[in-house]
Assembly symmetry: C2
Homo-oligomer: 248 residues x 2
């Protein structure tokens, strides 16, 4: 039985879980959202590492044999510590996002957006440079998560906030945008409007691609998912199921 | 020795601590910000109660003999539980905010703004109705905290977000605005611009007034403050001290 644990600070990682579920890579997916302590993006590294290890301990109870870190912030600061404590593969959205660029021109203009902690960790930037990419602009966009949570996925306010964060960027010239936070794919339409020539890198799709090419997993006929959270589990299950069923 | 414990989910309650400190009501103030789990506003009631009781346990180590709950969300859902566990007075910002209206006309048009959890708890609204106020409009404004944290205290984006939240309100007719979140006093200038005729109720000033009139405390010559937080204590101390010294 192949069982994949997925964790995120909250509900955002459902965008990743959904892609893994659709790809039927595992018999079962166990999702854990640390909603009692969300968000991770503005907290200290040692705190994020502690929370990530606690999530791993929780998921180990389900005999998982694969772990996906769907939280960009945890991927940025806790992936090595998680690997040290796990006897199975641990895959983070950051590595997957960078892997998704393997066939891109090294001179591409890349825009990386994420939480303050993800951008400050320099993890994406280091991996991209190691792969030979030279033109990387990174911008922390902390208002995007509350915008998504308020349902402001497009419109005047969202446009103004995009203009504010990207005022010093020649938007036409951006070739690739790495959506470095699991909430951001919900803003895809606005990203495409402001950056007409950019390819958007979505963590969930990148993770699925990386699992398929790196690990020799048998294709299953149908995956199932179990949902857990550290706060308000019933409300969480209802909202997560809605997101999973949305445009599936 | 009179020692007052103050707690909030994060740094916002410093706006309350600062007023108490300035008023020299206690020999010492012990401030605890639960920054490892901030914000409380979108979390479940049982979780907020558990976090509040843990904050009380922490503050009891300092032999406090007064507790101020500077977090509106915790005041809304955990005040009774805190009183059950404390052998000293426990005062919340909500009761203080309502008390500050004791001389106002009962027909005043009151606008209450706060987090989703604070508004949904109905705590302010019930207390206001009990006091005889009839015209209360309450609106959850979850984007205001991230706006303050991004430093967008005024300007076009902030104005647009105000227009969005208050589009169904006759702004000229609002007499009183209860700033039901400790972050919101930082938006006072924008509130005054959009609501030219309103008196703003600030939790910190309301708490000081209520302590002065309700408890017979000897006036001290100078109060001191000690700062603690559950995440990144050094960074927290630096930022909190800056806020305390700001326009003191």
């Amino acid at each position: 039985m192949n069982r994949c644990g997925i964790f995120d600070s909250g509900i955002g990682g459902i965008s990743v879980a959904k892609e893994i579920l659709k790809a039927n890579l595992f018999d079962e997916i166990i999702y854990y959202g640390d909603t009692a302590r969300v968000p991770y993006g503005n907290k200290n590294e040692s705190t994020i590492i502690r929370y990530s290890l606690e999530a791993l301990e929780f998921l180990k109870n389900f005999d998982i044999n694969f772990l996906v870190v769907a939280c960009n912030t945890a991927s940025a600061v806790a992936i090595e510590e998680l690997r040290r404590e796990a006897s199975f593969p641990v895959l983070g959205v950051i590595e997957a996002g960078v892997e998704a660029l393997k066939n891109e021109d090294k001179n591409s203009n890349i825009l990386l957006v994420g939480t303050k902690r993800t951008i400050k960790s320099d993890k994406y930037q280091k991996l991209l440079k190691k792969r030979g990419f030279k033109n990387i602009t990174s911008i922390a966009t902390p208002l995007f998560v509350p915008l998504v949570e308020e349902g402001l996925l497009e419109g005047e306010i969202t446009d103004k906030i995009f203009e504010m964060y990207f005022k010093n960027i020649d938007k036409e010239k951006i070739d690739i945008i790495i959506l470095g936070c699991t909430h951001y794919p919900f803003l895809s339409k606005t990203f495409k409007k402001h950056f007409p020539n950019a390819r958007l890198i979505h963590s969930g799709q990148a993770i699925v691609e990386m699992i398929k090419t790196t690990y020799n997993l048998p294709i299953k006929r149908e995956s199932s998912i179990k949902l857990f959270s550290s706060d308000a589990p019933e409300e969480f299950k209802i909202n997560a199921k809605k997101l999973i069923e949305l445009k599936k």
